[in-house]
Amino acid sequence: MFTFWEIVLQQFINGLVLGSFYALVALGYSMVYGIIKLLNFAHGDIYMAGAFTCLSVYSLISGYMPGWLGISLAMLAAILASAILGYIAQRVAYRPLLSAPRLSLLISAIGVSLVIYNAVMVMTNSKAMFFPGGINKSTGISYGHVTITYMQISLLAAAFAAMAALTVFISRTKLGKAMRAIAIDTDACYLMGINVNAVISFTFMLGSGLAAVAGGMYCVYYGNVQYSMGYLVGIKAFTSSVIGGIGSIPGAMLGGLLLGLLEAFGTQMLGSSWKDVFAFSLLILILAFKPNGLLGKPEVARM
């Protein structure tokens, strides 16, 4: 049915769409890591909380307004809720531990992850929630057998827009500059009069907000949310940010897209039961040859 090149092209598109999800979530991981060297385990759960808020809000308001407005408002609510959640987590669980051993910070992050995960599980009675209606028909652009749906196009567009905006923000604004400065030398930033705590809080909110964008898109696109959905994406995003070079913003994007493509082509070549083995083996190989990831800068470990 498909010709060889059609398959390659179709899987390339599939991989990009999947990868843009990973990239959006990976950005939050990478930013937080860059600034306080924390592997934020709760990030996948914040993504889940975003999707959950989006769905709940949309179910509440969708009856009273046109679809696009409802979706936009629901997305906004998701971003807001996740940003607040990220802020609270940072304020309560991470800030008191900034000078503690790194692994203690990791434990705290695992604690936050457990809390969010189980809170949503209890609230939803461990059942999945579903989006009323949703778009199910296959409408899109076809070329030969290759199809890209409008949904996929909008998903890609949204992801790339978010990434572009973030890049501009980090490189052009004062706050972005402060974030970069803290990542390089926190102590010097204190001396230079930068409000380090405020910038760290902001970074968390920004990263959480981006995760909520991914969560919201997932909820609008696929229409189901369950409390366990953050786990897999969290691990994949974590992997993406490491492939790209953790702490590097373009690295996270590249890593996410690359992981998405690896999975798509792994599915095609080896079957979906082996795709993760394929992706993780390549990850180990990449790190064996490029110990700082693809775009990470070599640096001396600061434990």
Binding site: M1, F2, I7, Q10, Q11, I13, N14, G15, V17, L18, F21, M121, N125, S126, K127, A128, F130, F131, P132, G133, G134, N136, K137, S138, S142, H145, T147, T149, M151, Q152, Y218, Y222, G223, N224, Q226, S228, M229, G230, Y231, L232, V233, E263, A264, T267, Q268, G271, S272, S273, D276
Partner: protein, 387 residues
């Protein structure tokens, strides 16, 4: 630091206090019909219930437990079994092997006479050996991986049709809709993978080709690469072996990705929530389903009683759980004793007509007659399909 230390200690002490209180309670829920508690009473028949009541599968475990309660209450009202009342003692297996062994040891240490339950195959398998070692009869209501009967433990009976029956039902369905190339998708979990493997073995016997076997992990987001692989394999029928939440995602993305053939889902997805979850994309989807209460003879009365007792709708495995208690009752009455050996033989030879169908066992202690039915989503509701 001093203050903090004190606070921590206080917290820990509080936790310990609650913990010892909990331990004092024995960590069990005992319930049942008769009302008179006291599980140590010699006159009562103590039935251990091992189902998940916490964690991801808590909903199904609770549903089964509530169904057991209903059956026990009815039986006790009618005079009990051999003049003795039934009492349930519930232990949570958390759908986890380690917790399941704790649950099993808990029931064993409480000297239960029989054990019913079993929702998650993995947890059930982990606990079975322990019951067998203690010569306890185990009637498994829902878990139906063929791994369970492969153990060859002769005190364990499976009251739900095994996956091999679903594979036969699927073959019949494929033939009736004229499909010849089937794609199987599972999620890598115990039962779904088992079901997929059984279909892989069964379908070719009916002249149906397996186009491809794919895996979609729990919580996977975009599965379009799997959809592409399925379209590329030119499958005209897709069978999803996993659970309904991810299943709805797969179905939607199949339709969005331009797949136009038939779709069926396995018993793990047999839930009314599948309909809401899939929306328009669910129209026409088949389900190889366990006995659905609404299509069962005498089902209306059961639903009414269940609602009266629990103020809830019964779930997918309620009928099987309900029948389990009645099978046990009949077997005990036939044996005339609580002796495991005698009751075991009575169960082996039982022929009971229940809500879930006719319950009769093969020498391998699986159901002889399949209880699978085929239903289809038509106009946003389930409809029984007869082939």
């Amino acid at each position: 630091m001093h203050e903090k230390l004190k606070k921590t200690l206080a917290l820990l002490l509080a936790a310990l206090a609650i913990a010892s209180f909990a331990a004092g309670c024995g960590g069990t829920n005992s319930g049942g019909g008769g009302g008179s508690g006291g599980s140590g009473d010699e006159e009562e028949i103590l039935i251990g219930v091992m189902v998940p009541t916490s964690g991801s599968e808590a909903y199904y475990g609770t549903d089964m437990y509530q169904s057991y309660m209903l059956a026990v209450e009815e039986i006790n009202k009618a005079g009990g079994v051999l003049g003795r009342k039934l009492t349930l003692l519930q232990a949570d297996d958390g759908c986890d092997s380690n917790i399941a062994t704790s649950a099993a040891e808990l029931l064993i240490s409480k000297n239960v006479d029989f054990v019913v339950g079993g929702y998650c195959s993995g947890a059930t398998v982990a606990a079975m050996q322990l019951y067998f070692d203690e010569d306890l009869l185990l009637l498994i209501s829902a878990a139906n991986s063929t791994g369970i009967t492969q153990l060859g433990l002769d005190t364990c009976f499976m009251l739900n049709s095994p996956g091999s029956h679903a594979a036969v039902t699927l073959a019949d369905l494929c033939k009736s809709v004229g499909s010849s190339k089937v794609a199987l998708i599972h999620n890598g979990d115990e039962y779904p993978q088992n079901l997929s493997k059984l279909c892989e073995d069964e379908l070719p016997k009916h002249g149906i080709e397996i186009a491809t076997v794919q895996v979609v992990d729990k919580g996977a987001s975009d599965v379009s690469s799997v959809v592409t692989a399925i379209r590329n394999a030119e499958a005209d029928f897709v069978y999803w072996c996993g659970y309904h939440a991810d299943g709805s995602n797969v179905i939607k993305q199949l339709r969005q990705g331009g797949y136009e053939g038939d779709i069926a889902v396995g018993d793990g997805s047999a839930s009314v929530e599948l309909i809401t979850a899939c929306g328009d994309a669910g129209e026409g989807v088949y389900v190889t389903s366990p006995p659905f209460v609404r299509f069962a003879e005498g089902g209306d009365r059961f639903v009414a009683d269940f609602k009266a007792m629990h103020n809830l709708e019964p779930g997918a495995y309620a009928t099987l759980a309900y029948d389990t208690i009645y099978v046990l009752k009949e077997a005990i009455e036939k044996a005339g004793t609580l002796d495991t050996g005698a009751v075991k033989d009575a169960v082996q030879n039982i022929n009971y007509k229940g809500l879930s169908g006719t319950i009769k066992f093969t020498p391998d202690r699986e159901l002889e007659i399949s209880n699978f039915i085929i239903i289809q989503i038509v106009d946003g509701d389930f409809q029984l399909v007869t082939i």
